[in-house]
């Protein structure tokens, strides 16, 4: 599992990367009450706003962590936004994207680096 400074986690399976937000992020956000996900087959560039989550406190944008194409979105979190708090690293995933070159993940933080990042 890799991490971005935007508090997203990424898990790669070949060219397909699953993206969600970290436990730390879900705790900071508070109870999530609304999730808007991109359409599948959307081509995105790094740092494009691709999704919106709203907690009881505020709205936050989810940025595309990499260049690629959204291939699948998790409708379950749209139906039940609480999944983002209950299981952020599992059932609370947001979308899967296809990327050209999985080696770009090497540049992202690993678990130890992310833990250090959030202090």
């Amino acid at each position: 599992m890799k991490f971005t400074e935007e508090h997203e986690w990424l898990v790669a399976d070949g060219n397909i990367v699953t993206v969600g937000i970290t436990e730390h992020a879900s705790e900071q956000l508070g109870d999530v009450v609304f999730v808007e996900l991109p359409d599948a087959e959307t081509t995105v560039s790094t740092d494009d706003e691709v999704a919106v989550i709203e907690s009881v406190k505020a709205a936050s944008e989810i940025l595309a962590p990499l260049d690629g194409e959204i291939v699948e979105v998790n409708e379950a979190v749209v139906e039940n936004p609480g999944l983002v708090n209950e299981d952020p690293l599992g059932d609370g995933w947001f979308f899967k994207m296809r990327i050209e070159d999985p080696s770009v993940l090497d540049e992202l933080m690993d678990d130890a680096a992310y833990k250090k990042f959030i202090g």
Binding site: G30, F34, V52, E54, V56
Partner: protein
Amino acid sequence: MADLERTCLYDLHVELGAKMVPFAGYEMPVQYPMGVLKEHLHCRAAAGLFDVSHMGQVLIRPLQGGIAVAAEAFETLVPQDLLALKEGRQRYTFFTNDAGGILDDLMVANRGDHLFTVTNAACKAADLAHMRAHLAATCAVEEVTDRALLALQGPEAERVLAALVPEAADMRFMDVAVVASDHGDLWLSRSGYTGEDGFEISVPEDRAADFARALLADDAVAPIGLGARDSLRLEAGLCLYGSDLGPETSPIAAGLGWAIQKARRRGGAREGGFPGAEKILSEMEDGTARRRIGLRPEGRAPMRPGTPIHAGAEGGAPIGEVTSGAYGPSVEAPISMAYVDAGHAAEGTVLYGEVRGKRLPARVAAMPFREAGYRK
């Protein structure tokens, strides 16, 4: 958090795991480990304990004569009938300004030989100055600085409080009482800001933490932070000063005409006689350009404060703006309050809130969004 005040329950909040945030000059608990959503639901299902010690508590005593002297003087600042307010009762009031806006909304209680007011934290210094400036000729205006204020709200509130203070069970909505207890003299009112049955309890500061712990010892009671306090009051359709009400808000536009009693209206025994009376009484007859409405978005996206409201899905200038908006945990849907042009305020009208550049439909809805549980 420099320069922020703390209530006498600060240590208890920290011990309970609260996340503290700056609010109206105080460090206050925004949530506890339970989280905003569960705190909200817990308060509706059982009972919630709130620290509202940051609010202003002020006593108004007539310098000479009886309570009527204080009531009459206070009526020069508010459009309410305070002469008719009976001993042991309180009433929702608001200070108006010369422009017909609202300086603060507050509770005023008749406690026999004096009035007791509870005002908003952010306004309390200005309220005190306002009262001193206008009441000093006939009344002593005393800020209460040695008492905490707690709110116990929810369907279990009566049972929990009556176990410590049996007299609480005999009170009905908007009653007030001063009761001697094991925790010192308690100033009770059967009221609150959640739409639930419940009490606000003023307790001596040096007894407040023990009293709060005694309430929290009941399994039904959970501590509730400002986050859930806001979603609870929004579901109850209750205004938040500074968001839904302000110095430029007409009480009539705000839908608070019900709180202006007959005696102070046109043709009443003591018509007018408060700041902005002419404007406000005309608005009661002629209506206002804008009106406060409830909105239920048809989708799931909350419409937050500042969201522009449009009459149509395309084109045209905004006809209003959201002043409060969030997800309503008990109604299980987003809810908002907005001010819109009066021609678009009819219940059932479909309007459009502009959220992240998209116009999303929302229906004008009756408030409260959820039926209140007051013990009348």
